[in-house]
């Protein structure tokens, strides 16, 4: 059951120097959670273009071809550099949330509580490694490359 804990104000920025690994993990998990739930609503909104597309709505793309409004919307978004950059950001947020989530599930099961600070640092390093390794894939095809 949800309970209220007095952790003080996160918005009191000067406190950041006092934060332990566990506090940073809590803040990052909360921040990445907000981003992911916001993205979920946006994602369904974008995918909703499949409805008019299935009803036969076609548009002319930049190459002058007739394509469905769904295909054109996704292709237009994916051809934009800022969208690709945001996708890399989304991957970083999702990977950290997954890895830290596994860490939380294990701690809930009584595994690794004494090394919870080390597993937080491991989550950060692994997130960084996975994101850097994924950049070429996420940037593939941008600008017709």
């Amino acid at each position: 059951m949800s309970q209220s804990y007095n952790r003080g104000l996160v918005e009191d920025f000067s406190r950041w120097k006092e934060f332990s690994a566990g506090m940073w993990a809590w803040i990052f998990h909360k921040f990445t959670g907000w981003v992911l739930v916001g993205y979920l609503f946006t994602h369904i909104a974008v995918l909703s273009t499949a409805i008019p597309a299935q009803q036969g709505e076609m548009v002319t793309n930049s190459a002058g071809e007739q394509v469905s409004v769904y295909t054109n919307t996704l292709s237009l978004l994916e051809s934009t550099f800022i969208v690709r950059l945001l996708e890399v950001g989304l991957l970083a947020v999702a990977v950290f949330h997954i890895l830290n989530g596994i860490r939380l599930l294990l701690v809930d099961l009584g595994i690794g509580l004494e090394s919870q600070d080390k597993t937080f640092y491991a989550s950060l390093v692994l997130t960084g490694a996975i994101v850097i390794a994924s950049v070429p894939t996420f940037m593939a095809g941008i600008g017709g490359a």
């Binding site: 309970q3 209220s4 739930v37 499949a50 769904y70 996704l74 809930d108 095809g141």
Partner: protein
């Protein structure tokens, strides 16, 4: 609710990773077309996985936001209002997501 948040988390760890791999590494996001989406969604197993993904992600996300706000100390009328608004937003998202999925697999046209 505490247990359900953990059960959905365990499911989402696997399905979110699968979703990223399939649509960014196996297929590339910039190559996605209506026809490709239709083909994937016409597979009953894939459709069921994606629909469960929608429902569990919505519950986990919306309940997570509610927990974060309770954690910040909201109570009384604001807490009740937040619960109602988030509950309604979650149901609307699941309804719209289901509608989109049924159009994608050709059940609705």
């Amino acid at each position: 609710m505490w247990l359900l948040q953990r059960v959905t988390a365990a499911f989402l760890v696997v399905v979110l990773a699968f979703h990223f791999f399939l649509l960014h590494f196996y297929h590339h996001a910039f190559e996605i077309t209506l026809m490709g989406t239709q083909t994937r969604m016409q597979d009953v197993g894939y459709f069921a996985t994606m629909w469960l993904f929608l429902v569990t992600a919505t519950f986990h996300g919306v309940n997570g936001v509610y927990n974060a706000l309770v954690n910040q100390g909201i109570s009384g009328t604001p807490k009740t209002a937040v619960k109602a608004i988030l509950g309604l937003a979650g149901l609307l998202l699941i309804a719209q997501g289901t509608r989109v999925a049924l159009y994608m697999n050709g059940f609705l046209a």
